[in-house]
């Protein structure tokens, strides 16, 4: 039981970290950024390249996260900004982000090939710890720790800083924010930077956790991320955190009691039920929104 909770929290922390970035962009632009999973994947590969080049993980992780953030800014410039004033920008934005995801995946395929790449042995000290009746590896605990710290940092940044206020203002109403003197373009670019950086961090942690990175590694997480942001409420950062952990736990218990073949199905069943019974999710805004 304790072991299952631990495993659920561990998987859930990665889902949550991934989904927080996903939902942040949706909250600001009302657009589903389908390239988020591609950034997740690219960032894992960047970390792998840096580790292979002999750098310590302590350098490689922040560098890959920064690179992911910069990719996010490029993504916004190329795929989202030109479409912003279009009437159907939420569907055309979805499609242009899809286009960028395809390009990113093609680049990764060309450079790294379709096979699974792995971090070299000894990238992270191989140690296990005993907590109650459960065992956890040091790596798992560090992953949970890093995710929680990053999500807390984002919450603080959004809640307490000037930039956070600007991003929230744009999420509420870009026009009103502009009238009040907020640099809307910059706020949106920064939201993309933060979102992609967190998605990138999730990618590196995922790559470390399962020690396998391939160009399609983002696929499964992408669809689970959708389940998480729907369950948490589109655009709600605390909702995505709670729902990420919830989905991790649900999955682990499903595997334990129903068998592993149901693991992936359960997230879509959850997604489906939430959309039909309570489309605004656990923490979503109550107002009817035509996304």
């Amino acid at each position: 039981m304790g072991q299952q909770i631990l495993n659920g929290v561990f998987v859930g922390s990665i889902y949550a970290l991934f989904a927080v970035g996903y939902t942040l962009v949706f909250g600001v632009l009302d657009i589903l950024n389908l390239a988020h999973a591609a950034v997740f994947m690219l960032s894992a590969f960047i970390a792998l390249l840096l580790v292979d080049a002999g750098l310590s993980l302590l350098v490689a992780l922040p560098a890959a996260v920064l690179a992911a953030g910069l990719i996010g800014i490029v993504l916004e410039r190329v795929a989202f900004r030109p479409l912003r004033d279009r009437a159907d920008s939420n569907i055309s934005g979805l499609i242009s982000s899809l286009a960028m995801a395809t390009v990113f995946e093609a680049i990764a395929l060309q450079i790294f090939g379709p096979d699974t790449s792995r971090f070299p042995q000894g990238t992270f000290p191989d140690r296990t710890l005993q907590i109650g009746d459960a065992t956890a590896s040091l790596l798992q605990l560090c992953i949970v720790g890093v995710s929680v710290v990053l999500m807390a940092a984002l919450t603080l940044l959004l809640g307490r800083t000037r930039l956070g206020r600007h991003i929230r203002a744009v999420a509420e109403s870009p026009r009103a924010a502009r009238i009040l003197g907020v640099d809307v373009d910059r706020a949106i670019a920064m939201a993309f930077f933060l979102s992609s950086a967190l998605g990138g961090a999730a990618g590196v942690l995922f790559g470390l956790a399962f020690n396998s990175i391939s160009p399609d590694v983002g696929r499964s997480v992408e669809l689970k991320g959708l389940a998480v942001i729907i369950l948490g409420g589109m655009g709600s950062v605390p909702g995505a955190v709670a729902a990420g952990f919830a989905l991790g736990l649900i999955e682990v218990f499903t595997v334990a009691h129903l068998g592993s073949s149901f693991r992936d199905a359960v997230s879509f069943v959850v997604l489906f039920l939430v959309l039909i019974a309570r489309p605004r999710g656990l923490f979503g805004r109550a107002a009817a929104r035509e996304a």
């Binding site: 795929a79 899809l98 395809t102 395929l109 060309q110 729907i230 589109m234 035509e290």
Partner: protein, 290 residues
């Protein structure tokens, strides 16, 4: 000429099948609904058709195709009733969930060999079968244009609330188009299964419905023939450019993917109404410069 035809027979078949699939996405898109359930509908059609052919070889192919068209259409009704209340991105996400559930169902179903799928399906699809199916689909969707139903669909696309206020039965229209799209996807699935000899759950991943959407958008959804055109363009172009990619030292898989991405991006940024709007656009430009 006939040699050329034989060499490219499979490519031509895929132009037709992809055309049907792109039209199946267009069916809901033309009333403003982004439904991404079509890989799931396609799977239902493909498995239905393949199972009938394998278990009851005596059944004529036309009946097999009819069953494969009908099965996903029937599934679409109970799916659509709750799901079509959702709008925009929410509808897209719910239908993605449905598609994945269908795929995972077939992965776990022992009767259809799970993840391996059904193999050694006799080849019963001919080029003319595909051409006929595509022609019927195009005719049906073309006839909608200018009809009472067609105007209702356009009204729903432009403003659903306003359409309902004008007395248009929005739920019924949306459901009808979802069912039509499901039927087309199922038909395409069965045609593909009897062309490639094999049906496996790996064919019906999320990426498959993305391909359909991309082809529909690149072709243009302002005209009923746009999606079929887009499918033809995106199916043939990578074959034509494969030589160039190889000369640049790029592997065919990534190169094709890269090309798809770049074309999609260029179309959505610079040609929002797709390839079908290109002639009018060029004419306008020519007149402007003269």
């Amino acid at each position: 000429m006939s040699d050329l035809f034989l060499a490219y027979e499979s490519l031509i078949a895929f132009v037709g099948i992809n055309g049907l699939l792109a039209l199946s996405v267009y069916a809901t898109l033309c009333c403003g609904q982004l439904s991404l359930a079509n890989a799931g509908f396609m799977a239902i059609g493909a498995y239905t058709g393949a199972l009938i052919t394998l278990k009851a070889p005596g059944v004529p192919f036309i009946a097999v195709l009819a069953a494969a068209t009908l099965a996903p259409a029937i599934v679409a009704v109970p799916l659509g009733l709750p799901v079509l209340r959702l709008r925009g991105v929410f509808l897209a996400i719910a239908t993605v969930g449905f598609g994945e559930v269908v795929r995972l169902f077939f992965v776990n179903w022992d009767y259809t060999n799970g993840a391996l799928g059904l193999v050694a399906i006799p080849q019963r699809t001919h080029l003319w079968t595909i051409a006929l199916a595509l022609a019927v689909a195009l005719y049906g969707l073309g006839r909608l244009r200018g009809s009472r139903t067609g105007y209702a669909l356009e009204a729903i696309r432009e403003d659903e609330t306003a359409a309902r206020t004008m007395g248009i039965y929005t739920t019924g229209h949306k459901l009808a188009m979802l069912v039509a799209g499901a039927a087309l996807a199922g038909l395409a699935g069965a045609l593909e299964a009897h062309h490639t000899f094999i049906v496996s759950p790996g064919t019906f991943v999320f990426g498959r419905v993305v391909d359909m959407l991309v082809q529909a958008v690149v072709g243009g959804t302002a005209a009923f023939y746009g999606p079929a055109l887009g499918a033809a363009f995106l199916t043939v172009l990578p074959e034509l450019l494969r030589e160039i990619g190889a000369r640049l030292g790029l592997a065919p898989g990534p190169f094709r993917l890269f090309l798809n991405g770049v074309i999609l991006l260029a179309v959505i940024l610079y040609l929002p109404n797709g390839l079908v709007s290109l002639p009018a656009r060029l004419r306008r430009r020519a007149r402007g410069s003269a």
